[in-house]
């Protein structure tokens, strides 16, 4: 299988072309939202915490929260691209039906759509990383690179979950529920704004299952806490496993839905 086959590249090119009109809005959002978040959390809330002489495992609040903000941006961006637009592609504008009338395969449509969303997610991630740097949120250059690396893994693995679900459902109300009761809690309770071990023990497994927690916590471990670096390979395997399972399921669902 050629991962970047001609059909896959054609889908990516198509989606990039279709999104160029709202590029300005996207750019404003990817730039302004991190500035606002970092200012409120890193500088505002962070200075309060730091002023109390408190650190999180020896790390200032801005440094603690930075990887989580970058990774969650990747996650939320791909979710936006791979939920309603996927259901819409089957039900409303039937864009997948049009693609499938050509020689390309359902697997190529899945990959092209996922890679396009990941490109968007990564663009947002890189902008965010630079803004974090301007705020002094990275302890080292490697730290920023690890964060981008884990954001990419997260974009692919969480993105394919969203794509899979959205290809399966018939109604957008299910997507609304998924966003409110899965995506948002993941964003809030994956050790994003506070360390996972401040949660009651029975809630912590939610964090361990969360792709976002793995991406964030591995970046933190590799950057600040070398004694926890063992987590990184586990997280990489975990994220790749999610990716593989949901990729195969997505191709199956797309094939079934398109060849009905």
């Amino acid at each position: 299988m050629n991962i970047l086959s001609f059909g896959t590249r054609a889908v990516i090119a198509h989606k990039l072309r279709a999104s160029k009109d709202y590029l300005g809005t996207v750019f404003a959002e990817t730039f302004l939202s991190p500035v606002a978040y970092l200012f409120a959390l890193g500088v505002g809330l962070g200075s309060l915490i730091d002023a109390n002489g408190q650190t999180i495992n020896g790390i200032g609040y801005l440094q603690f929260v930075a990887p989580a903000l970058v990774c969650s941006t990747a996650m939320l961006t791909v979710a936006g691209e791979l939920m309603w637009p996927i259901l819409g592609g089957f039900r409303w504008n039937k864009i997948f039906e049009a693609m499938f009338a050509t020689p390309i395969s359902p697997a190529e449509i899945v990959r092209g759509t996922l890679f396009f969303a990941s490109i968007r997610g990564m663009a947002a991630t890189v902008v965010y990383t630079v803004v974090v740097w301007a705020f002094g949120g990275w302890v080292s250059f490697e730290s920023a690179l690890w964060c981008i690396f884990f954001s990419l893994l997260l974009a692919l693995s969480f993105g394919i979950c969203c794509l899979c679900l959205s290809a399966k459902v018939e109604q957008d109300s299910i997507l609304t529920l998924f966003y409110r009761f899965i995506v948002m809690p993941l964003f809030l309770f994956s050790g994003t704004f506070f360390s996972l071990d401040t949660l009651p023990i029975y809630l912590q497994p939610i964090g361990w299952l969360s792709p976002l927690w793995h991406a964030t916590q591995s970046t933190r471990a590799l950057s600040y806490w070398p004694e926890q670096a063992w987590l990184a390979p586990i997280s990489i395997i975990y994220l790749l496993l999610i990716f593989t399972v949901f990729y195969l399921a997505s191709v199956r669902i797309f094939t079934r839905r398109l060849t009905k």
């Binding site: 054609a10 090119a13 072309r17 039937k94 039906e97 049009a98 009338a101 050509t102 020689p103 060849t259």
Partner: protein, 308 residues
């Protein structure tokens, strides 16, 4: 005789318990314009999707350009042009970009795609709309763009699923004219329609489909000859009186059909029939004489009119 480009034998498609296509046989010759005529829900679109190598058959044999669609789907689709029932243009792209992006899916070189789309914009009479958004096009323009898009890969077979449904008469005629040109150029056309006039205009040969089965097959003229008389007299007596008037007209013409709103009397000479109606002391509210059409063929074959 050349090999058929499409050959279906005992073709069946089931959706769970519902059998949408119940074992149909037909062949399409190269260069032919072949029609599937039938009411909504007859199984036309399902058949088209199987021919288009996007929907797998439940049983039976199907060969498109000598290949099996369940094995060589992508290879077959590479040589087909498809105009689906509902336009599925990309609203986020401009008119010309819709053609460009689509051409690229066939692996056609960028430069060739750009050259070819200019010719097709011309063909679809959309040259001055090339930079418009899809939302700004009329229904007829969208349809023509979808047709132009389907021609990007210079297909061997062009599949059109209800090409003019929902269009106003003028837009339909422009579209027919474009399709007529394709026919003249020797493109093999396969189209479904529930409009008799469209089938008569565009199809060399057609099958009449109802409830997933073929009711009749032939050229429009041959079908009319076989299943109907030369002319039809249509008389209206008002919805309450049609039934009793029909009783009084028994024996007039070759055959009488009583519809809710009118009575159809089939005969060789319609004017003579109208005289006979008056001779029997019946005075219709309105009356007219017309040539038999495929609508009459359908009525004869199924006992129902096409658009219920």
């Amino acid at each position: 005789m050349p090999n058929p480009v499409i050959s279906a034998k005992s073709l069946v498609k089931k959706f769970k318990d519902f059998e949408a296509v119940k074992g149909i046989d037909f062949e399409v010759e190269p260069g032919e314009s072949f029609g599937l005529l039938g009411p909504n829900g007859a199984g036309k679109s399902t058949t088209m999707r199987m021919i288009g190598a996007v929907s797998n058959r439940t049983s039976g044999d199907l060969e498109i350009l000598g290949m099996d669609p369940s094995v060589d789907g992508p290879k077959i689709r590479a040589q087909l042009g498809v105009v689906p029932q509902a336009d599925n243009l990309d609203q986020e792209l401009k008119v010309w970009e819709n053609l460009y992006v689509y051409g690229r899916y066939f692996g056609i070189d960028k430069k060739i795609v750009k050259d070819r789309l200019e010719g097709l914009l011309d063909f679809a009479q959309l040259k001055d709309k090339r930079n418009e958004k899809i939302d700004d096009l009329s229904g007829g323009m969208k349809r023509r763009l979808t047709i132009a898009r389907g021609l990007m890969n210079e297909p061997k077979i062009f599949l059109l699923d209800e090409p003019t449904t929902g269009l106003d008469p003028q837009a339909r005629h422009i579209l027919w004219d474009r399709l007529f040109r394709l026919r003249e150029q020797g493109t093999t056309l396969v189209l479904t329609t529930h409009y008799m006039d469209e089938a008569e205009q565009l199809a060399d040969r057609l099958i009449v489909v109802d409830k997933g089965q073929i009711m009749a097959e032939g050229s429009p003229a041959a079908l009319i000859r076989q299943y109907s008389s030369r002319e039809v007299a249509e008389v209206r007596f008002g919805s309450d009186s049609n039934r009793s008037a029909a009783d009084a007209l028994s024996g007039v013409g070759d055959r009488i059909e009583v519809l809710p709103d009118r009575i159809l009397i089939y005969a060789n000479n319609g004017e003579e029939i109208l005289s006979e109606v008056h001779r029997r002391g019946l005075v219709p509210i309105t009356s007219l004489v017309r040539r038999s059409s495929l609508e009459d063929v359908f009525l004869k074959l199924t006992g129902r009119s096409l658009i219920d």
